[in-house]
């Protein structure tokens, strides 16, 4: 019998050229061989999506064509609008996203995943997130603006006003940073669904469902909630010491793969200084104390700040309400999910692992109902 590795830790489940997490050296490599810190200063989210889908960065005319295609695919269809309005505005935004994406992609017959569909699905996420927020505020749902880029349009649809160039840039950088990350649980879910020959919407819906989990996409919200509880830099020492004594986990620290500081966290940390100066002060002190406590408790473990911690600060600076954090994560990651699905099509093989039986010895005979 094969060995059992809980959580498939260390098991290679796919070959991929979409991205690579080099945890030992703290590097995130996107398709084409680009290090994340090299991409951030030069590319927009649209360029990164193009890169993940095509394997090359676009030139100006290719980028214009993609931007135009995305801007033209932002509207919800009738099924999606019907689902959106059916759900109470106060419900979980991830449940709304899961449902509306499912309805938007409902078709008559099964369609093989395509690049065109990847573009269209990616384009529609900001529309759903924006409408979710407007409904919650009991304000009019905004129509998408085709003259705005992906990040700026998202803020427009949420707030009903054009964002400052700075805010659009911070959000765009966040979207670039989170667009892919190796074989994480949601991407893996998408690849498992794809392996059955199912459609792209089913893959993306499965990925949203996985990202919703607090152990995955929900971690950004958890980090912000912890910062809210700490409240101020002065309170960090006391709060964290007490939380540690209660055996509470510190949100925003630790990652299965990185053994050093997460390169995305490094970039977000720097941005947080200007994006959210006040929260930055609390967060920086929190980080210092948390890392010290964790190191004292587990000197053997590489304890480092993860992307969720600093993402929660930057998104706050952008003006994103924390209830939407996970949906904004999804809005970024959908480029990676779809790129992985498209990549897997070239050598599609059903992902069907084995399980180890730990139940009763087979062959016991069922008793008749009356005798039980």
């Amino acid at each position: 019998m094969a060995d059992f590795s809980p959580g498939l830790e260390g098991v290679v489940a796919a070959e991929t050229a979409v991205s690579e997490v080099d945890g030992a050296n703290g590097r995130l490599i996107y398709r084409g061989g680009y290090l994340i810190e090299d991409l951030v200063p030069v590319v927009s989210y649209e360029e990164v999506a193009y890169l993940l889908w095509h394997g090359e960065l676009p030139n100006e005319s290719q980028l214009d064509a993609l931007s135009e295609e995305m801007a033209g695919a932002r509207a919800l269809n009738e099924s999606a609008r019907g689902s959106l309005t059916a759900i109470d505005a106060a419900d979980d935004p991830m449940d709304i996203l899961r449902t509306v994406v499912s309805a938007q992609g409902a078709t008559k017959t099964l369609i093989k995943p395509s690049l065109e569909e990847a573009v269209a699905l990616t384009a529609v996420f900001p529309t759903i997130v924006g409408a979710t927020w407007r409904r919650r505020l009991r304000k009019e749902v905004m129509e998408p603006r085709s003259d705005l880029g992906h990040a700026a349009n998202l803020l427009w649809m949420m707030n009903g006003e054009e964002p400052s160039a700075e805010k659009a840039h911070w959000l765009d950088t966040y979207l670039v940073l989170l667009a892919d990350h190796g074989l994480n649980a949601s991407t893996f879910a998408a690849r498992v669904v794809a392996s059955t020959g199912s459609d792209l919407t089913s893959c993306v819906v499965g990925a949203i469902a996985a990202l919703k989990g607090p152990a995955h996409g929900g971690a950004t919200l958890a980090a912000r909630n912890m910062l809210d509880k700490i409240g101020s830099a002065d309170n960090a020492e006391r709060w964290l010491t007490e939380a540690h004594a209660r055996h509470e986990r510190f949100s925003g620290f630790g990652h299965r793969v990185y053994r050093t500081y997460d390169p995305r966290a490094k970039i977000l940390r720097e941005m947080a200084k200007t994006a959210a100066p006040e929260l930055y002060t609390t967060a920086a002190k929190t980080e210092e104390v948390a890392l010290r406590i964790l190191h004292e408790a587990h000197p053997d473990r590489p304890n480092a700040t993860n992307v969720d911690f600093w993402a929660s600060v930057v998104l706050t600076g952008v003006g994103i309400p924390k209830e939407l954090f996970t949906t904004i994560f999804a809005t970024s990651r959908v480029a990676g999910w779809t790129a992985h699905v498209l990549e897997s099509l070239s050598d599609l093989r059903l992902i069907r692992p084995a399980s180890r039986w730990v139940g009763p010895q087979p062959g016991k005979k069922p008793l008749q109902l009356a005798k039980r």
Partner: protein, 371 residues
């Protein structure tokens, strides 16, 4: 670096006490019981209880479960509205994926529990029947509390009660398909549950996976293929032509079974009794297909899988073929939710590795300078 195993074949992804596929001996075991001992004796409700609780219910427990299921057959207002917003020609699997997603919204991020599993399982037939009635431009039929799970599904679909023989056949189908080890949709559900996401999310992901033709999407294709073969005159000539064109025979082969799938055996016998027209052609096609496949790959164990005779049974039950895979989902939801409960009870996030096969790190060229 560990080596890549395509499709995770043979890699143990979970420990489970829910079901075991013993491919060498052609056995499917639910919580210790061999499927052949359950299939024609148990109601779907009893088997669902078995999968969730780990033991068969006594009379009082079964009655309580039946009442709980019957009480949760109605859709929420949001789910009904969302269902009505989908065009009538939508694939019922997409309907199921979308409406199950809405139906679960009220539970938000609740920890998976048996009551939630019961509520979800109860809702599947209602979603399918309501949509089917809408496609036919007929009034929806309200669920009938006095009917069991299988009988009520058919009643809501057709607007009248089905004969005991038909109900029994559907019940047996639901029992046979209720769980099957770490298949792709169940594994999807467990991956989703491993992030501490909710039961609805896990089920929605599983429905998406089941939709794929390499998993649950095959039975309707079996019928289409049989029709083509049946119309072609000499089946063997036609089927050899298919292989020359590299076409796949639908309903054959399984990664795990090395002998005849025990479910297929039971369904084949049901088909012979209930759908003789289908059976005559199917049995002949089966014989030819296995012979051709064996000639091509004598080293491979070739056998008929559960999809093949499922098609004939579901046809005899009177279900439209677009509802074959959704009916499969209505059975498997019991297994999916049992696996989610088991995953949640012994959780560790499922996050495998990938092997990077892209280029070595290089610097990006700014937009204006790209070719």
């Amino acid at each position: 670096m560990s080596s890549y195993v395509p499709g995770l074949e043979g890699i143990v992804a979970s420990q489970t006490a829910i079901s075991m596929v013993d491919g060498q001996n052609g056995r499917l075991v639910y919580q210790g019981y061999v499927i052949a001992d359950l299939a024609e004796e148990m109601s779907f409700e009893e088997v669902a209880f078995l999968l969730w609780e780990g033991r068969l219910p006594n009379r009082a427990e079964l009655d309580a479960l039946s009442i709980e299921l019957a009480n949760h057959r109605n859709l929420t207002q949001a789910a009904t509205t969302a269902l009505d917003a989908l065009p009538p020609d939508t694939d019922p699997m997409d309907v199921l994926r979308s409406v199950v997603s809405v139906q679960g919204v009220e539970h938000r991020l609740a920890r998976p529990t048996i009551p939630l599993a019961i509520h979800a399982t109860a809702s599947f037939p209602t979603i399918l029947a309501m949509f089917h009635r809408r496609q036919l431009e007929l009034e929806p039929v309200k669920p009938r509390a006095g009917l069991g799970h299988a009988a009520n599904y058919l009643y809501m679909m057709n607007g009248e009660e089905s004969s005991p023989e038909i109900v029994r056949a559907l019940n047996t189908y639901l029992v046979l398909l209720a769980d099957h080890g770490m298949n792709a949709s169940t594994f999807t559900a467990r991956v989703i549950a491993s992030t501490e996401s909710d039961l609805t999310s896990a089920l929605v992901g599983a429905i998406g996976a089941l939709k794929g033709p390499a998993h649950g999407g095959a039975p309707s294709v079996v019928i289409e293929q049989l029709e083509l073969i049946g119309e072609a005159g000499d089946p063997e000539t036609y089927m050899r032509g298919m292989r020359k064109r590299k076409e796949k025979f639908m309903g054959f082969g399984h990664r795990l079974y090395r002998v005849y799938d025990p479910r297929a055996k039971i369904l084949k016998e049901m088909c012979r009794r209930m759908n003789p027209k289908f059976y005559d052609l199917a049995a002949r096609v089966e014989e030819i297909a296995l012979r051709i496949l064996n000639e091509e790959h004598p080293e491979r164990p070739q056998s008929t899988n559960v999809e093949f005779y499922s098609a004939g049974v579901l046809q005899a039950i009177g279900l439209p073929r677009e509802y074959f895979t959704p009916t499969f989902a209505s059975a498997r939801v019991a297994g999916w939710s049992a696996h989610v409960l088991e995953q949640a009870a012994h959780n560790r996030i499922i996050r495998p590795q990938s092997e990077y096969i892209g280029p070595e790190p290089r610097k990006p060229v700014p937009l204006g300078q790209r070719a």
